[in-house]
Subunit: 124 residues, 2 copies
């Protein structure tokens, strides 16, 4: 498929898709006329990219991670310790971010008078 369709199917803008390629996250084939030609797996990859990016990872980190998960099966498991430590660091950052988000949500909830956790019904 060409870039327009992939954009529609993934929700990413065409610009974003070209940017991902520029950053080495995606390497679509080219049609004889120079158009980019994406296959089905690209759609999956793009969704993964967006998840990782929206989780605060940079394109460089995503570029390191993608090839490992790209072939649908988990591949890593035993690779260079550098990468493993990098992933662990990202994991810690993500956990911290989740903590921050949860704290912020609690603040918002307290403003609206929503209970701070559990399904405990609001004191009638």
């Amino acid at each position: 498929m060409r870039i327009g369709e992939l954009a529609r199917r993934t929700g990413a803008s065409e610009r974003a898709l070209r940017y991902y390629e520029e950053q080495g996250l995606l390497s679509p084939a080219r049609l004889p006329n120079g158009y980019r030609d994406y296959d089905e797996r690209c759609a999956v990859t793009v969704r993964r990219i967006r998840i990782l990016l929206s989780a605060g990872l940079g394109t460089a980190a995503v570029a390191e991670i993608l090839p490992c998960v790209a072939d649908d099966t988990v591949v890593l498991a035993g690779t260079c310790p550098e990468l493993r430590e990098g992933l662990a660091a990202e994991r810690r950052r993500i956990d911290a971010a989740i903590g921050d988000l949860t704290a912020a949500r609690d603040i918002l909830d307290s403003l609206v008078g929503r209970p701070l956790y559990g399904p405990a019904a609001p004191a009638a």
Copy 2:
């Protein structure tokens, strides 16, 4: 206290503290010599600011929220529907962000061979 001490006590940089003031999030008194003079409540406020910012809210949103929670007690509960809807929207965004983060963490975990959640053992 002056800006340096508040910075040390909150972890925010002096620049950040001036920026928060510039954005209307903080309004410290001034000493006769022009120095900013923060009281204890400012420390609490700054921590709240940082949580909300790190949760992805913008300074404008934080500025709307802060006065409601500032006086230590939850105050809002029944305010203009605009603000309430804004808060609800932020809450939805935060929930979505948490979802993304969790998904990203799962991807990372799968790379490291960690079980994705439930106690289902990884296929040997």
